[in-house]
Every structure is written in structure tokens, then in C-alpha cells.
């Protein structure tokens, strides 16, 4: 899979993620490809997660879940959610080759996050 994104596209994606997710209280958000490369990453400045490892694991995790989906006769599970005590992770597929990963705390409800993620993805799709 080859793709090229210029400064303009990256800037607009950052802007979307900043406005739609970070400004609303999400701790950290990153867009990756299925090989585990980070395309855009943003955070609220308070956290220091190792996002390179997170990206590699997220891509691997999604690959494993896709294989599970096929076994039970689904084409794919397009979103994943892991709940923690303080931090939660939400993964959502963006078209076939990209993944949007969002890390958020207890103050953000899952329903609201899903809504916002869906909105952001809709806008990002136009750019990709």
C-alpha cells in the first residue's frame, strides 16, 4: 500500500483531530496505518505514552481481531474498545488501511466519544 500525504493534508487532519477530539477532553489521539506507522499524533500535553509501541501493538491487535471476525463469519469488526480504571482506548477503522486510536479518561463518556470519533473520521476520509 503506497500513499502520499503532503503538509496541507497533515495540517488539516491535525486541525480536525484537535478540534473534534483533543479540545473536548480526549487525552491522546493518533492516526496510524495498518503497518503500524504513525501518520498524525496529538495529545493534551499531560501524558507521555510510548506511542510508537502503542501504534505497533494497535495495528497488530487490529489484525488479530480482523482474523477473529472472519472466523465468526463477519467481514470485520470496525471498532474496538478497551476499558481501564483511569484510561480507556478506542480503535476505529478509517477506510481499509488506516486506524484512529483514541485514549480518553473517565470524564468522557463512551457514547459521546464514539459520536465525535465518527464525525472526525467522516472529515478525515475526505482528505485521505
Amino acid at each position: 500500500m503506497d500513499y502520499t500525504l503532503g503538509q496541507k493534508e497533515l495540517d488539516s487532519m491535525e486541525e480536525i483531530l484537535q478540534k473534534d477530539l483533543i479540545d473536548l477532553g480526549v487525552h491522546c489521539v493518533f492516526l496510524i496505518d495498518m503497518a503500524g506507522n504513525i501518520i498524525v499524533n496529538l495529545d493534551n500535553g499531560d501524558i507521555e505514552h510510548d506511542i510508537y509501541s502503542l501504534a505497533a501493538l494497535a495495528a497488530g491487535n487490529f489484525g488479530a481481531v480482523s482474523a477473529m471476525a472472519r472466523i465468526v463469519g463477519e467481514n470485520e469488526f470496525s471498532l474496538l474498545f478497551h476499558k481501564g480504571k483511569k484510561e480507556n482506548i478506542h480503535f476505529s477503522k478509517v477506510m481499509t488501511d488506516f486506524l484512529l486510536v483514541t485514549i480518553f479518561g473517565r470524564e468522557t463518556s463512551l457514547g459521546f466519544l464514539r459520536l465525535k470519533v465518527a464525525e472526525a473520521i467522516k472529515k478525515i476520509k475526505v482528505i485521505l
Binding site: D33, N37, G60
Partner: protein, 201 residues
């Protein structure tokens, strides 16, 4: 194809350690992690089974500084070597830029090396990549075992088995003791970067 971020001036390069099960791929990464601990800011990620076998992959990212103004981030992965985990191996190969093939020098593993190399060729072809074109380094691992009286294959035989057509650079190594582990990695980084430079032109 490596991932180049023009905005952040960053290149992410993926090098995968491939080879038969129990061949020493993870041990290579563990040695690198130990040796360059001061320069590697993050923890090595390893997803293992209870029996210490790699279940999914190991992952070790590190920076090698700037090349032509771009920050180069090398990402080392290993695959699970066991035959049954082929789906996982294929997954890890996605977006690979360079391969280190870790062959097992033990005489009893001769067949396993050949099968694994063949499997690599098949898996690369699913991503439309050619084993003869991808930057590759061969490592003949476990040479330290000869001191313990374990019969090993000579580098000539291993070369004949695995490298007659590939003609890749090869190293005799001991991942456990660290001999030639860094040399293998350096060679892999240099030929992978050279090939990327050519591709990007």
C-alpha cells in the same frame, strides 16, 4: 515502503527479523536492547506465551539520528517462528522495508531453515514483494554451540542452502553472547536505507 512524514521530517523504517522457531530472533533484539539501553528511550515490547515463545511479535523502536535533515526511526520487529503462526507472520511483514533472516546453525535444524526461507518468500509475495529485491541480511546464529560439542552446519553449507540465489550479506553470529549481532543490524540498516534512498529518488 518506509513511512516518510514530510511535516515532522521523520522517516519510519521497519526491519523484520525472520527465521525458524527457536532460532534466536528475540535473543537478537534482547541483546540490542541491552547493549543500547542508554539510547533507546522506550521499553522493548514482547508478546510471549507462557513457554517464553514469541506469540505475536517483539517490537523495539529506536532513533539513529538525522539523515539529510530527516529523523530516522528504526523499528525492529520479530515474527513468531513456529510453523502454525503463519497468519501472524504475514501480518508483521506488512509494510516491511528490510529483513534479517536468522538461520539456526544446528545440524538438526537444516530443513527448518529452508522451510522458513521458503515461507518468507511466499509471505512477501502476498504483499507483492520479491525476496530477491528486498534488502536482506542473513545471520547464521548459534555458533557458540560448537564449544559445547553440538554438531553445527558450516557457514559454507548454510550459504549453499540459503544464499546461493539470494547472494545477501551474511554473518556468523551468537545472539546469546552478542557476537556479530550489532554487525548484522548495522548492515541491515545500511542496505535498507540505501535501498530507500534509491526508491525515493
Amino acid at each position: 515502503m518506509a513511512f516518510v512524514n514530510l511535516k515532522k521530517k521523520e522517516v519510519q523504517v521497519k526491519i523484520v527479523y525472520y527465521g525458524p522457531g527457536r532460532g534466536g530472533k528475540t535473543t537478537n533484539l534482547e541483546y540490542i536492547y541491552k547493549k543500547f539501553n542508554a539510547r533507546i528511550k522506550t521499553e522493548m515490547v514482547a508478546i510471549k506465551t507462557h513457554g517464553d515463545r514469541t506469540l505475536f511479535f517483539d517490537f523495539l523502536p529506536f532513533d539513529i539520528g538525522k539523515i539529510k535533515g530527516y529523523d530516522v526511526k528504526i523499528q525492529l520487529y520479530t515474527v513468531p517462528g513456529q510453523v502454525k503462526y503463519n497468519a501472524t507472520r504475514r501480518l508483521v511483514l506488512r509494510g516491511v522495508d528490510g529483513i534479517v533472516f536468522v538461520a539456526d546453525s544446528m545440524k538438526v535444524r537444516r530443513e527448518k531453515n529452508l522451510l522458513s526461507l521458503k515461507n518468507l518468500q511466499e509471505n512477501l509475495s502476498t504483499y507483492k514483494k520479491n525476496i530477491f529485491k528486498i534488502p536482506m541480511v542473513l545471520q547464521y546464529n548459534k555458533i557458540d554451540l560448537s564449544e559445547h560439542g553440538i554438531p553445527l552446519l558450516s557457514p559454507e553449507i548454510l550459504g549453499k542452502d540459503l544464499n546461493t540465489q539470494l547472494k545477501a550479506p551474511s554473518f556468523e553470529a551468537s545472539a546469546l553472547l552478542g557476537s556479530n549481532v550489532v554487525a548484522t543490524l548495522k548492515k541491515s540498516i545500511s542496505i535498507t536505507m540505501a535501498s530507500l534512498k534509491k526508491e525515493l529518488k
